[in-house]
C-alpha cells in the first residue's frame, strides 16, 4: 500500500468543494443534453411517427405489375392468327459467377454465342444490381431449355425463364392488318399518363394490335412485395389484384382467302383489299413488301428491325390505306355515273376516237393511238375498251365541279374510316383545292380537267377507297365504312358482334345508271374488254382496269418492255357476281404495267377460292371445275 502517499489528498475543504461544484456543473450539462435527446426521440417517434411510418413503408414495399396474357386474334372462322405462346429465355445470375472473365469462354461454348456478343449483353447491365438476371439468349427451343435445366447443379448460374410472347402463326400473313407489338415507347408513356404504362410493357404498335390495344392487352394486376435495400424481393404480401387476360378479337378476314391472296401476289409490290359489299367487312387484305410480325416480339432483333425501317421499299407501310396513287381508267366509272346522273350524256352518246384529241395547244392521247384509235364508240364500249378520247371530251363538257362532286360522293378525298391506326385521305382536285395547294399557280386550267377525266393529274386515291367505291357500285349505292373486326370478346368466353352502323351514306342513283355501269363493268371482264384475264365462267365478274402513270408513255415505246421500276402501276377494281355481289375488291400492283395483265389474275385467284368456298357451303360444287379449267 505504498503508492497512496505519492498522490496528494485535497488541500482543504474549499478545494474539495470547488471540485464538487465543477463536477455538478458537468452533471447538469450532461443531464440537459439527455433531456434534449429525449425530446428529439419524442418528436420523431411520437409526433412525427405517421410521416416516418409512411417513408419506411415506401422504402420496403414495392408494387410489382402482373402482366395479363394478350388477347387472341382470330379470323372470321375462329382460326387463330395471333396468340401468346410460352418462350424460354436463358438467364445468367451474375452473383453466382465467381470469375466472369474466366467463365465467358465456357459460357460462349455452352450457349453457342460468340464471346463478344455475350460481353455486349453483359455490358448493358453494368450498374444494375447484381441479383438482376441478365437474359443471354432468348426464345430457345425446348431441347436447349431442358439441357440448361438438367445442368442446374453443374451450372447454377444459368436458369431458364418462362415468358409469354406474341406469336403470329402465319408469320408475314396479313402482317399489315394484324400489325405487331413491342415495348411501349417513352413518348407513348408521356403522351398518355392515364394508361399507366409500365416501363417495358408490351403494347400494340401497328394494325389492329394498335387499334384495339386496350381490349387486347387486358387488365394488369399487381402485388406488393417486400424488398430489401438492394431491391431484392424478400417476400410477397397477400394484398394485390389478379390480372385479367386480354379480350379475343375476331376479324372479318378469312384465312383461306388471305392465303390465296398472299400466294397469288407472289413477289409483286403493292396492295389489295377484298370487302363484303354489304357491310364493308374486310375479307382479305395484303400489302407488299411485307414483314414477319414475330420479329418485333423478340428482344434481340434490333438489326432486323432497323433493316425494316431503313428498307427503301418501306415494308412497314400499309399500302392499303397509306399509299396514294392516280386511279387511272378506273375513274372512268365515276365519269360515266356523273355524266348520266347530271344529264350530260345518255348511254347512247357516241364519239369518235382517232387515237388522240387536240385541246387548246395540247394533244391528249388515247392508249389505242398505235392502231389508229378506237373509232366510233358508245359509253359501254368506251368503258370496256377504256377509251381516253371519249372521256376527255365528256369531261370537258361536264366540267371539273361535277366530276369532283361525284368523286367525293363515292368517298374519294376523305378517309374511309377503316379501323387501322393511320389513313390517307387522297386528293380530289378542283379549282378550290388548287388555290390552296398551289399558290404559285392558283388558276385551274381546262386542260387539268381533261387529265382528271381519265383518272390522272392531281387525282390521288388509296386502294381501300377504291374497294369501298367498288362495293358501293355493286350494292347499289351504299358507301360503307370498311372494318376488320367482326366481334369482340366482352367477358371471358362471351363474344359480341360489333353492332355498329357501318353505312357512311347512301348515294342516290337512277336504276338505269347502275344498270349501264354494271353492264359495262361486266363487259370489261366478259366481253373482250381489258380485264378478260379475270374471267371465271358463270361468275359474272364485273370490274374495271386502270393504270397509274409512272413514266409518260410515248407512241414509240412498248410499255411491256420498259424496265420494271418505270412501268405503270396497275389497278383492277370490281365486284362479283353482277346481280347480287358477294365480294368487292381493289387490287393494286406497283409497276405492274397494265391493270388487266398483272392485277386481274391476282383478283381471279382470290375469287376462285371465294366462290369455291361459297359452293362448298351451299352444297353446289358443279361450277368449281369449270372455273379452274377456264
Amino acid at each position: 500500500m505504498g503508492f497512496e502517499q505519492d498522490y496528494k489528498g485535497f488541500q482543504d475543504y474549499y478545494e474539495a468543494r470547488r471540485l464538487n461544484v465543477r463536477i455538478l456543473v458537468i452533471q447538469a450539462l450532461l443531464g440537459a443534453v439527455l433531456v434534449v435527446y429525449l425530446l428529439a426521440f419524442w418528436y420523431l417517434q411520437v409526433v412525427k411517427v405517421d410521416h416516418y411510418r409512411r417513408l419506411s413503408d415506401s422504402n420496403r414495399l414495392r408494387r410489382v405489375t402482373i402482366m395479363p396474357l394478350r388477347g387472341v386474334i382470330k379470323d372470321s372462322e375462329n382460326r387463330v392468327l395471333a396468340n401468346s405462346r410460352i418462350a424460354f429465355n436463358i438467364r445468367l445470375d451474375r452473383e453466382k459467377v465467381p470469375e466472369m472473365q474466366a467463365f465467358l469462354p465456357r459460357l460462349a461454348g455452352i450457349l453457342g454465342i460468340p464471346e463478344t456478343t455475350l460481353r455486349e449483353r453483359l455490358a448493358k447491365y453494368r450498374g444494375r444490381p447484381a441479383f438482376e438476371p441478365v437474359i443471354l439468349k432468348e426464345d430457345v427451343d425446348l431441347a436447349e431449355a431442358a439441357y440448361i435445366e438438367s445442368r442446374r447443379l453443374e451450372l447454377p448460374m444459368l436458369s431458364v425463364e418462362v415468358e409469354s410472347r406474341r406469336n403470329y402463326l402465319y408469320g408475314p400473313l396479313a402482317a399489315h392488318a394484324l400489325g405487331y407489338v413491342g415495348e411501349v415507347s417513352e413518348d407513348q408513356i408521356k403522351a398518355d399518363p392515364s394508361a399507366a404504362y409500365d416501363l417495358g410493357e408490351i403494347v400494340g404498335k401497328a394494325g389492329v394490335e394498335k387499334q384495339y390495344d386496350s381490349g387486347l392487352k387486358g387488365v394488369k394486376g399487381w402485388k406488393q412485395v417486400v424488398v430489401n435495400s438492394f431491391g431484392r424481393e424478400i417476400q410477397e404480401i397477400e394484398e394485390g389484384r389478379k390480372s385479367n387476360p386480354g379480350r379475343a378479337l375476331r376479324l372479318s378476314i378469312d384465312l383461306d382467302l388471305q392465303r390465296a391472296l398472299e400466294e397469288a401476289y407472289a413477289d409483286e409490290a403493292g396492295s389489295a383489299v377484298f370487302l363484303d359489299p354489304h357491310s364493308g367487312a374486310v375479307l382479305a387484305m395484303i400489302s407488299r413488301p411485307a414483314f414477319d410480325s414475330n420479329v418485333f416480339s423478340r428482344r434481340f432483333s434490333q438489326d432486323t428491325w432497323e433493316g425494316l425501317v431503313r428498307d427503301p421499299r418501306h415494308p412497314l407501310q400499309n399500302r392499303v390505306s397509306l399509299s396514294k396513287f392516280a386511279p387511272g381508267s378506273v375513274f372512268k366509272i365515276i365519269m360515266s355515273i356523273a355524266a348520266l346522273e347530271e344529264g350530260i350524256a345518255t348511254p347512247a352518246r357516241a364519239d369518235h376516237c382517232t387515237g388522240s384529241w387536240r385541246f387548246g395547244d395540247k394533244t391528249f392521247q388515247c392508249w389505242a393511238i398505235r392502231k389508229g384509235g378506237h373509232g366510233y364508240l358508245k359509253m359501254r364500249e368506251a368503258i370496256i375498251q377504256s377509251c381516253n378520247v371519249y372521256f376527255y371530251r365528256l369531261g370537258n363538257e361536264m366540267g371539273i365541279d361535277r366530276i369532283s362532286k361525284w368523286a367525293h360522293r363515292f368517298g374519294f378525298g376523305e378517309p374511309t374510316g377503316i379501323d387501322l391506326p393511320h389513313e390517307e385521305a387522297g386528293t380530289v382536285p378542283d379549282p378550290e383545292w388548287k388555290k390552296r395547294a398551289n399558290p404559285r399557280d392558283p388558276v385551274w386550267h381546262p386542260g387539268e380537267t381533261i387529265s382528271v377525266s381519265i383518272g390522272q393529274g392531281a387525282l390521288e386515291v388509296t386502294p381501300i377507297q377504291m374497294a369501298v367505291f367498288a362495293a358501293a357500285i355493286g350494292n347499289g349505292g351504299t358507301l360503307y365504312r370498311p372494318h376488320l373486326v367482326l366481334s369482340r370478346e366482352v367477358r371471358e368466353g362471351v363474344e359480341e358482334d360489333e353492332h355498329q352502323d357501318y353505312v357512311v351514306r347512301r348515294i342516290d342513283m337512277k336504276a338505269k345508271t347502275l344498270e349501264v355501269i354494271k353492264d359495262a363493268m361486266w363487259g370489261v371482264v366478259n366481253d373482250e374488254g381489258t380485264g378478260g384475264r379475270a374471267r371465271i365462267a358463270g361468275r359474272d365478274i364485273c370490274a374495271k382496269t386502270g393504270t397509274a402513270q409512272v413514266f409518260k408513255a410515248s407512241r414509240d415505246v412498248d410499255a411491256d418492255k420498259l424496265p420494271k421500276e418505270r412501268r405503270d402501276h396497275a389497278w383492277f377494281v370490281g365486284f362479283a357476281p353482277r346481280d347480287d355481289p358477294k365480294i368487292a375488291w381493289a387490287v393494286f400492283v406497283q409497276n405492274g404495267g397494265h391493270g388487266g395483265t398483272t392485277a386481274a389474275p391476282i383478283a381471279r385467284a382470290v375469287l376462285e377460292r371465294f366462290f369455291g368456298k361459297e359452293d362448298a357451303r351451299t352444297g353446289v360444287q358443279q361450277l368449281a371445275s369449270v372455273a379452274v379449267s377456264q
Binding site: 503508492f3 498522490y7 488541500q11 426521440f41 420523431l44 411517427v49 416516418y52 419506411s56
Partner: protein, 362 residues
C-alpha cells in the same frame, strides 16, 4: 484492508447498469445482423464482452494508486502501439487503425485512450495546484496531443474527436478560470472557419449534409435520412424484436455499429429509447458520483476522465442517430459492435469502480 470490505463498498448499481447496457447491445446486434453478411458479429461481441469483463475485474482489483504509479509505462506502450499501427496497421475504410496479433485484431487507439485517461489523472493528482497554470495547461495539451496526433495520422477523426471531451473535462475540473475558459471559447469560435479549409472533402460533405440532409439523399444524406426513418417509424412501442424493417432489410447502413441505437429505437420504440437513455444517464450519474466521492484528486480525475470520454462518445453517437449532430462515425460505447471499443470502455469503467471501492480512507 481485507478484500471483503472492498466488496462491501462495490458500486453494484454502476456494475449492473453496465451489464444491462451490454446485454441490450448484444440483443440489438443480434437483431441487426441476423441474415446479413455480418451475422457472426453477435458471437464475436460475446467473446469480446468476456475479455472486457476480465479486463474490468483486473482494473478494479489492483489499487488505482498502483496503476497510476505505472501510468507513464502504460502511456508509453499506448503511444508505441499507435506508432506501430501507422507502420504495420491494416487498412480498413481508407484508414490504418487496426493492429493484428495472431488472429486477433484490435484498435490501439482505444487502448491509448484509457492509458491517456490514467496518465492525465496521475499528473493532475500529483500536482497541488490552485487554478490551472500555464505549465499545467501545456502539460495536459501535450499528454492528450501526442496520441491524438498519432490517431489523426491514421486518419481516424472519429476516435480523435473523443479526446476532446476528455481535454475539456480535465481542464474544467482542474480549475481553469471561467475567464480563461471564455477566452478559449472565443478563440475556438474564431478558429472554426479557418479549420474548414483543413477538412477533408468527405468531412466537409458530412457537415453540409447535416445542415441539409435532403441535398443528396442517395449519397451522404442517405445514412441520416434512413436513420431518421428508422427512429421515427419505431413509434411509441416499436416494431418488435427482429421486426424493424429499416434494420432488417438493410436500408440502415452500419446498423450494428454506428447506428445500433437507431435499430434499438426502431424495434423498441420511444419506450425502448427512453429506457436506454436512462441506462446511459445512470452510468454517467454513478461515474460523476464516484468523482465527487473520491478520496483524493487522483480518484477524482480518473472518474472524470472516464466519464467525459464515455458520455462524449454516447452523446455524439445518439445525437447523430436523431439528426442533431453531423455524422462522425463514433461507436456507441457498450452497445455498438466492436471489440476494442467495448474492452476499453469496460477497462475504463473498471477504474471508476476501483475509485468508488477505495473511496473511504481507512
Amino acid at each position: 484492508m481485507p478484500a471483503w470490505r472492498y466488496l462491501n463498498n462495490f458500486d453494484w448499481i454502476l456494475f449492473l447498469a453496465i451489464l444491462a447496457a451490454c446485454s441490450v447491445g448484444l440483443a440489438v446486434i443480434y437483431s441487426a445482423t441476423t441474415g446479413t453478411p455480418s451475422s457472426g458479429a453477435f458471437h464475436r461481441q460475446m467473446i469480446w464482452l468476456g475479455i472486457g469483463l476480465v479486463l474490468m475485474v483486473l482494473a478494479l482489483l489492483i489499487d488505482y494508486h498502483t496503476l497510476a504509479e505505472f501510468s507513464y509505462v502504460f502511456y508509453g506502450i499506448g503511444l508505441l502501439l499507435l506508432a506501430l499501427t501507422l507502420v504495420f496497421g491494416r487498412v480498413v475504410n481508407a484508414s490504418k487503425s487496426w493492429l493484428g496479433a495472431g488472429g486477433v485484431q484490435f484498435q490501439p487507439s482505444e487502448l491509448a485512450k484509457v492509458a491517456t485517461i490514467l496518465v492525465l489523472a496521475a499528473y493532475m493528482g500529483r500536482e497541488r495546484v490552485r487554478g490551472l497554470g500555464v505549465i499545467h495547461f501545456a502539460a495536459i495539451c501535450a499528454l492528450i496531443g501526442l496520441p491524438v496526433l498519432l490517431i489523426m495520422k491514421q486518419p481516424d477523426l472519429g476516435t480523435a474527436v473523443t479526446f476532446a471531451p476528455l481535454f475539456a473535462g480535465v481542464v474544467f475540473v482542474g480549475g481553469i478560470r471561467v475567464r480563461t475558459l471564455l477566452i478559449l471559447a472565443v478563440i475556438a469560435t474564431l478558429a472554426l472557419p479557418l479549420s474548414w479549409g483543413h477538412l477533408k472533402p468527405y468531412q466537409k460533405e458530412r457537415v453540409k449534409t447535416f445542415l441539409e440532409p435532403t441535398r443528396d439523399p442517395k449519397g451522404s444524406g442517405y445514412q441520416l435520412i434512413q436513420s431518421l426513418i428508422a427512429v421515427g417509424s419505431g413509434g411509441l412501442m416499436g416494431k418488435g424484436f427482429l421486426s424493424g424493417t429499416q434494420g432488417q432489410l438493410q436500408f440502415l447502413p452500419e446498423q450494428h455499429t454506428d447506428f445500433v441505437f437507431a435499430v434499438l429505437a426502431e424495434e423498441r420504440g420511444f419506450i425502448g429509447a427512453f429506457l436506454a437513455l436512462g441506462l446511459y444517464f445512470a452510468i454517467i450519474y454513478r461515474c460523476l458520483a464516484t468523482a465527487r466521492a473520491a478520496r483524493d484528486r487522483l480518484g477524482v480525475f480518473l472518474a472524470i476522465g472516464v466519464v467525459c470520454v464515455f458520455s462524449g462518445q454516447a452523446l455524439l453517437n445518439i445525437g447523430v442517430v436523431v439528426g442533431l449532430l453531423p455524422t462522425t462515425g463514433v461507436p456507441l460505447p457498450l452497445m455498438s459492435y466492436g471489440g476494442s471499443s467495448l474492452a476499453s470502455t469496460l477497462l475504463g469503467m473498471g477504474l471508476v469502480l476501483n475509485v468508488w471501492m477505495r473511496r473511504l480512507v481507512n
